[in-house]
């Protein structure tokens, strides 16, 4: 970043955006234009109306991004809304992440809840389902979905975010990947090379190329499975 200056909002403040090195919002901040920086840290409440491009984005509070996000790392420990697309190499969600459009990453990991309005596309997708997770479609190489933690942890998260849909389930139309392992997933179609269906799943159709395994758990419903 050639400018090398920082933007800090402590308390209440607003900025029209621009190019910065380090941007920190402690308190409540509005950024009304496009923002480009090395690191963006939000420790309170932030609303960003433009597009954001940053190496690292950390949200430990609540943030409302109205545009697109691009960057290398995005770590959500709180709650984040994104109105556009997310194109970030590594996404780590430990809170509640809502993306209105598509999310494209090399690695997407989630220990919390999320909603992706479009396609969740990542080389490696690791989801620990603590709260409700939703995506229209999921595609990638490795897709691993497991029920997260104990019910105690899920209750704790519930107490932190009242009003959060808490049933720990991943809901999606289609899942397509090379290696797919699923728990607590409701999907219309699952397609993959090697597919394993674990407990708590409700899948209409499984289509597989090499191998298909179904956990002997009674709480699995797979209406149809076929080798393609």
């Amino acid at each position: 970043m050639e400018t090398g200056n920082d933007l800090r909002i402590n308390g209440l403040g607003s900025s029209s955006g621009g190019k910065f090195d380090f941007v920190q919002i402690n308190g409540k901040g509005d950024i009304t234009g496009d923002l480009e920086c090395r690191e963006l840290q939000i420790n309170g409440l932030a609303r960003l109306t433009g597009n954001v491009k940053a190496n690292t984005i950390r949200v430990s509070g609540k943030s409302d991004f109205r545009g697109d996000i691009s960057g290398n790392n995005m770590i959500i420990d709180g709650m984040s809304d994104v109105g556009g697309n997310v194109k970030v190499e590594t996404v780590e969600n430990r809170g509640m992440l809502r993306i209105a459009e598509d999310c494209g990453s090399e690695s997407f990991s989630s220990q919390g809840g999320f909603t992706v309005g479009g396609l969740l596309n990542a080389e490696k997708i690791g989801i620990s389902v603590y709260a409700q997770c939703k995506a229209r479609e999921i595609g990638g190489k490795e897709i691993d979905v497991r029920l997260g933690g104990g019910s105690g942890i899920r209750k704790f998260i519930g107490s932190l975010f009242p009003g959060l849909p808490l049933n720990p389930v991943l809901i999606t139309d289609t899942i397509e990947g090379d290696n797919v392992y699923l728990e607590n997933t409701t999907a219309k179609v699952v397609r993959g090379q090697d597919v394993k269906i674990g407990p708590g799943c409700h899948i209409d159709t499984v289509e597989y190329k090499n191998s298909y395994e179904k956990n002997s758990d009674a709480r699995i419903i797979v209406n149809e499975s076929r080798k393609i």
């Binding site: 596309n121 595609g139 990638g140 139309d173 090379d178 219309k188 179609v189 397609r191 393609i228």
Partner: protein, 212 residues
């Protein structure tokens, strides 16, 4: 129309690529978003692709991915202009475009010291139409003027360049694609080129000539 489309399943079968690869190439913008056509079928949502375009694209990616990184490939396949600036000498000796076409370009735009990608593209489009005998040198000048004045408005978008003739008079049209366009019966389409695929072709040629 149905025959022009290929389902994702059939595509993977035919080309031997995996879901992981397809999604990676989509992420890297090697396959344009608008080629993913989502349709409801009796087995649920399915994705279809324009058959010829996707098959040739995947063939291309498979052939080139050993020599170039995915990012380089994306650069090569994108409709955006490449970052190229070469001298007239280098352009002539590369053999990518004919000297006749360069001379015509010089006549319209004046003598150039260096050629940007956009200029080379204009010359290349002209050259292709000249070589195929579809247009004459005079019409080539019209083409260059049309491109010079309007191409920037459609840059980065898919577009076609069309040459029509009626009663001996010719005219050049730059139109965004995909688009259907119809003419009266006495109008003849003398030549038509898709600019986006020409850009791809040119980028490959320049890369092979060691430029860009």
């Amino acid at each position: 129309m149905e025959n022009d489309l290929i389902s994702k399943k059939e595509l993977l079968d035919l080309t031997g690529i995996s879901y992981g690869q397809l999604y990676r190439w989509k992420r890297k913008l090697l396959i344009p978003e608008e080629w993913f056509i989502r349709k409801s079928t009796f087995t649920g949502q399915e994705t279809f692709f324009p058959r010829d375009m996707i098959l040739s694209r995947i063939e291309k990616i498979k052939n080139m991915k050993d020599d170039a990184s995915l990012d380089e490939l994306a650069e090569m396949l994108s409709p955006n202009p490449a970052d190229v600036n070469i001298s007239g000498e280098a352009l002539k000796s590369s053999g990518v475009v004919s000297t006749v076409a360069i001379a015509l370009f010089d006549e319209i735009a004046g003598e150039q010291d260096t050629f940007s990608f956009t200029s080379i593209l204009h010359i290349y489009l002209l050259d292709k139409l000249l070589q195929s005998g579809e247009i004459s040198g005079e019409e080539g000048k019209v083409l260059l003027k049309t491109l010079d004045e309007n191409f920037s408005k459609l840059e980065g978008k898919n577009c076609d360049i069309i040459f029509i003739r009626k009663l001996g008079a010719s005219s050049c049209i730059l139109v965004s694609a995909p688009n259907q366009i119809f003419f009266d019966t006495s109008t003849k389409v003398a030549g038509r080129l898709n600019v986006t695929s020409t850009i791809e072709e040119l980028k490959t040629k320049l890369a092979n000539a060691g430029i860009g």
